[in-house]
C-alpha cells in the first residue's frame, strides 16, 4: 500500500486551521479579558492587573484629578454644519469624516471603561447644557457648536455650562471661532476663542512638533498626536488661568491643552482629525485629567496573566494596558 503523505493536503489543512483559529481568537477577544483593581494601604496604593496575553502597562497616580464622568455626550448632528478640514488616510482606509470619528470615539472610550456614552444631536446637546455641568463631559469634534448653545457672545449657554463644572473636549478647529446656524457657519473671528480661554491666543500655524512637555504625561499616557494646530499659546494665557499643557510641544503650544473656566474646563486636542488625536482625546478623558492635575508617580511594567504592585497615593490611579497599543484602561478613585 502506498503510504506517501499527501503533503499539499496536510499543509492546506494546517493552514486552514491556523486561519480559523485566528478567526475565533478575533471574535472572542474583548474587554472582558482584562480587569484592574486598587486598594489603599499605609499611604500607598496597591494595584492588581489581570490580562489575557502579554502586555506592557502603565499605572499613573495623580493628584487634583477628576472622577470618571457620570455622563459622556458626543455631539453629532448632520443638520448643523461642521467646520473641519478633510484629511488623507492610509490607502484602503475609510475616510476619516466626522461620522466615522464619532463612531470610533465611542469604541475608543469603551476600551477605557467609559461606557456611559451617548451621541447627542443639537436638541439633546441643548438639554445637556441647560443642566448643571458637574461630572458631565461633552465631546465636540465638529469644529463649531450649534447656535442654540453658542452664539459668539459671553451669554452663550455652553460657557455657563462649563463654568458650572462641565468638561468640554474639543477638536477640529479653533474653539469659539465658529457656530452653526443650520447649514450656515458663522465666523466670529479668532478673537472669539477668548470667551473660552480668557484671551485670544490660538495660533493657527500648522505644526507637527518634535518635543515633549516635561510633565511626564506623554510617556505615562502613551500619547500619540504631535500636532499643535488650533492649540492655545500657553504663555499667552492669562496669568490667573488654570492651565495644563501635556503631550508634545513646539515650546509654545501643547498637543493637548486644558484651560479652566469657572468650575469646569475646556480640553483642546491640537491638529486636524487623526487617529492619534482620537486616541489621545479618549485617553485624557478616561484618565480624569483636568487643568490642575499633576502626576504623583508612574509605574511601568508588564503583565502576562496577572501583575500587581504599589504606587504612592494621590487622588486617582489610572491603569492603562498596552502602552502605545492600548487594549484596556480604567480609572480608580483612591479612598
Amino acid at each position: 500500500m502506498n503510504a506517501r503523505i499527501n503533503a499539499p493536503l496536510v499543509i492546506a489543512v494546517i493552514l486552514l486551521v491556523v486561519i480559523v483559529a485566528g478567526e475565533a481568537i478575533v471574535f472572542t477577544s474583548g474587554h472582558q479579558d482584562y480587569s484592574t483593581d486598587v486598594s489603599m494601604r499605609d499611604g500607598e496604593v496597591s494595584y492588581d492587573i489581570t490580562a489575557r496575553g502579554s502586555h506592557v502597562y502603565d499605572v499613573i497616580s495623580m493628584k487634583d484629578s477628576l472622577d470618571r464622568p457620570q455622563e459622556v455626550a458626543i455631539y453629532y448632528d448632520e443638520d448643523y454644519i461642521s467646520v473641519v478640514n478633510s484629511v488623507s488616510v492610509a490607502v484602503g482606509g475609510r475616510a476619516l469624516d466626522e461620522k466615522y470619528y464619532v463612531e470610533q470615539m465611542v469604541d475608543t472610550l469603551m476600551l477605557r471603561d467609559i461606557s456611559n456614552v451617548r451621541i447627542v444631536d443639537e436638541n439633546a446637546l441643548r438639554i445637556v447644557m441647560d443642566r448643571d455641568g458637574d461630572g458631565v463631559a461633552v465631546v465636540c469634534l465638529s469644529g463649531s457648536l450649534p447656535k442654540s448653545v453658542y452664539n459668539g457672545t459671553a451669554d452663550s449657554p455652553v460657557l455657563k455650562w462649563i463654568s458650572s463644572g462641565g468638561r468640554l473636549y474639543w477638536a477640529g478647529n479653533v474653539i469659539g471661532q465658529y457656530y452653526s446656524d443650520g447649514q450656515t457657519a458663522v465666523d466670529c473671528g479668532l478673537s472669539a476663542s477668548a470667551l473660552f480661554l480668557g484671551t485670544a491666543c490660538v495660533d493657527t500655524t500648522d505644526a507637527k512638533v518634535h518635543d515633549v512637555m516635561a510633565n511626564r504625561f506623554r510617556d505615562a499616557l502613551s500619547m500619540q498626536n504631535n500636532d499643535t494646530l488650533y492649540s492655545p499659546v500657553l504663555l499667552q494665557l492669562p496669568t490667573d488661568s488654570r492651565a495644563l499643557g501635556i503631550g508634545y510641544t513646539d515650546g509654545q503650544r501643547a498637543s493637548v491643552t486644558f484651560v479652566g473656566l469657572g468650575d469646569g474646563f475646556v480640553c483642546i486636542a491640537g491638529g486636524d482629525y487623526s487617529n492619534f488625536q482620537r486616541i489621545d482625546l479618549a485617553q485624557v478623558l478616561a484618565a480624569g485629567i483636568g487643568p490642575d492635575t499633576a502626576v504623583v508617580d508612574v509605574v511601568h511594567g508588564s503583565v502576562s496573566g496577572h501583575a500587581s504592585g504599589k504606587i504612592p497615593a494621590g487622588d486617582h490611579v489610572y491603569i492603562c494596558i498596552g502602552g502605545f497599543f492600548p487594549v484596556y484602561g480604567e480609572l480608580h478613585e483612591v479612598e
Partner: protein, 438 residues
C-alpha cells in the same frame, strides 16, 4: 553531487535551508520596514481591545491576514513577549515627509519584528517545499526540483519582502501553490477552500480561477461536473466561514476597502485618469485570462499537468504586466523559477535581473529599514540614522529622494517583467513554429 536525486533532505538542501534561514533572521531582525509592521501591531491591539478587525482604524485588508496575525499573536504572547512597539520622539521628524511608502515614528520592537520574520521564514520554507513537490510531481526530476527549491528560497526579492518588509504576500504565494498542487492531486474541495482563502487574503491569485476551472474540465473530462461542484462547495463554505464575523457586525464593506479604494474615482483629473486606466487594465487582464483558459481547453496537451503549470505562469505574467507595488509580483516568482529550470533556460537572465530589480524597488524606503537599529540598539547611533535619512532629503520636482528611488525601482521592475514577457513570447513563438530549444 550537491543535490542527490534520492530523499528531499540531502546535504545540499540542508545547507540551502541553513543559509536561507540565517540570512532571513539576521536581515529581518536588524532591518524592518516599520510602516507595515506597525499596522500589524495596531491590528493586534485593536482586536485584543474588543474592536475586531474593522471597528477602529488600522486594518485595511480582507480578513484572512488579520486572522493569521491573531494566531501569530497568541504564540508571541505565550512566549511572554509583551512589548510590540513604541513611538519615538527622535523619529517624529520622519512623519513630516509625504512619501509614496509612508514613514512613521512607530517602530515595532525587535522581538516582534524577529517573530514576524520567523513566521514568514516558515511560510517561505513551506512554499519552497511546494515548489519542489510541484516540479517532482509534474516534471519528474528530483534534482531540478531541488534546484527550484533552492533558487526560490534564496531569491533575494522574496527575502526582502518577507524578512525586511514583513509583508504577507509570501502567504498568498503559499496558498496559490497549494491551490495548484491540490488541483493536480484531484483534491478539488480543499482547492476550492484554499482559493476562497487566498482571494480573501490577497485578490491577485483569484484571477487564475478561469484557468483552474478549465484545468479540471480538461483533465477530468468524464467527471468534471461533480469535481467542480466540490470546488464550488469548498470555496463557498470557506468564504461563508471566513466572512461570517463581518456579516454579523456589518463590516463587509470595510473588509473590501483596500480593493475598492483602488477602484474609486478621486478628485483630481490625473487621479481619475489613473483610476480609470487601472479599472480598464484589470478588466483586460480578466478577459485575457478567460481567453487563456479557453485556449487551454481547446489545445491538445502532451502532459496536462505540465501545461497547467505553464499556463498558470502565463496567467500570472499577464496579471503583473500591470505595474503595481513591488511585493505584488511575488506570486509569479515560483512559476518563473519552474519555467527557467524545467521548461526554457532562456528565462534565466530575466529571472535573475527581475530578482535584482524587484529587490531594488522593494528597498525604496531603505533608510526607514534602519529605524529599529537606531532606536532599540547601540549598533546605529541616532545621528548616523539621521545622516542616512538625510541622503534622501532632496527634491526632484515634487518628488523627494525616497519617491525618486521608488519610481526608479518601478521602472526597473517593469523592465524586468517585460524581459520575462519577451522571453515568453519568443518561447511561445518557437513552440508554434516547432523549434523549441529544449
Amino acid at each position: 553531487m550537491f543535490f542527490d536525486d534520492r530523499k528531499f533532505l540531502c546535504k545540499g538542501i540542508l545547507l540551502i535551508i541553513v543559509i536561507g534561514i540565517a540570512v532571513r533572521l539576521i536581515s529581518g531582525t536588524l532591518l524592518t520596514y516599520n510602516y507595515d509592521v506597525y499596522h500589524w501591531t495596531l491590528t493586534i491591539s485593536n482586536y485584543e481591545a474588543g474592536n475586531g478587525l474593522y471597528q477602529t482604524a488600522g486594518y485595511y485588508y480582507t480578513p484572512v491576514w488579520g486572522y493569521i496575525l491573531a494566531t501569530f499573536a497568541q504564540f508571541y504572547e505565550l512566549l511572554g513577549l509583551d512589548m510590540i512597539g513604541d513611538r519615538f520622539v527622535d523619529l517624529l521628524f520622519v512623519e513630516d515627509d509625504i512619501c509614496y511608502s509612508p514613514h512613521t515614528a512607530f517602530v515595532p520592537s525587535i522581538p516582534f519584528s524577529a517573530a514576524v520574520t520567523v513566521m514568514l521564514c516558515i511560510v517561505d520554507l513551506v512554499s519552497a517545499y511546494l515548489v519542489y513537490w510541484l516540479v517532482k510531481e509534474v516534471f519528474h526530476d528530483t534534482v531540478k526540483a531541488k534546484i527550484c527549491f533552492s533558487v526560490y528560497f534564496l531569491y533575494s526579492f522574496l527575502i526582502v519582502v518577507s524578512a525586511i518588509g514583513g509583508m504577507f504576500d509570501p502567504i498568498s504565494v503559499l496558498m496559490l501553490l497549494l491551490c495548484v498542487c491540490l488541483l493536480i492531486k484531484g483534491q478539488e474541495f480543499t482547492a476550492g477552500m484554499m482559493l476562497s482563502a487566498v482571494a480573501l487574503l490577497k485578490l491577485f491569485p483569484a484571477f487564475l480561477i478561469f484557468l483552474f476551472v478549465a484545468y479540471v474540465i480538461v483533465k477530468h473530462r468524464e467527471d468534471w461536473k461533480p469535481r467542480l461542484l466540490k470546488a464550488v462547495v469548498g470555496a463557498g463554505l470557506a468564504a461563508a466561514v471566513l466572512m461570517l464575523p463581518q456579516v454579523m457586525d456589518g463590516t463587509i464593506a470595510d473588509s473590501f476597502s483596500f480593493v475598492l479604494a483602488r477602484a474609486e474615482s478621486t478628485t483630481s483629473l490625473l487621479d481619475t485618469i489613473v483610476s480609470s486606466v487601472s479599472i480598464i487594465g484589470y478588466l483586460a487582464i480578466i478577459l485575457a485570462n478567460i481567453v487563456l483558459a479557453y485556449h487551454f481547453m481547446k489545445r491538445k496537451h502532451d502532459d496536462i499537468d505540465a501545461s497547467f503549470v505553464i499556463y498558470s505562469f502565463v496567467g500570472l505574467l499577464i496579471l503583473f504586466l500591470m505595474p503595481g507595488a513591488p511585493q505584488y509580483l511575488l506570486p509569479m516568482i515560483p512559476f518563473l523559477i519552474i519555467m527557467t529550470y524545467c521548461v526554457e533556460s532562456r528565462f534565466k537572465v530575466p529571472m535573475l535581473l527581475l530578482m535584482v530589480f524587484a529587490s531594488v524597488y522593494m528597498l525604496s524606503p531603505l533608510a526607514m529599514d534602519f529605524a529599529s537599529l537606531a532606536v532599540y540598539t547601540d549598533l546605529l547611533p541616532m545621528d548616523s540614522f539621521r545622516a542616512i535619512y538625510g541622503l534622501f532629503d532632496f527634491q526632484v520636482y515634487e518628488l523627494n529622494g525616497f519617491d525618486v528611488w521608488n519610481r526608479i525601482g518601478l521602472v526597473l521592475q517593469t523592465i524586468g517583467v517585460l524581459l520575462v514577457a519577451a522571453v515568453t513570447f519568443i518561447w511561445v513563438r518557437d513552440r508554434v513554429k516547432g523549434t523549441d530549444s529544449q
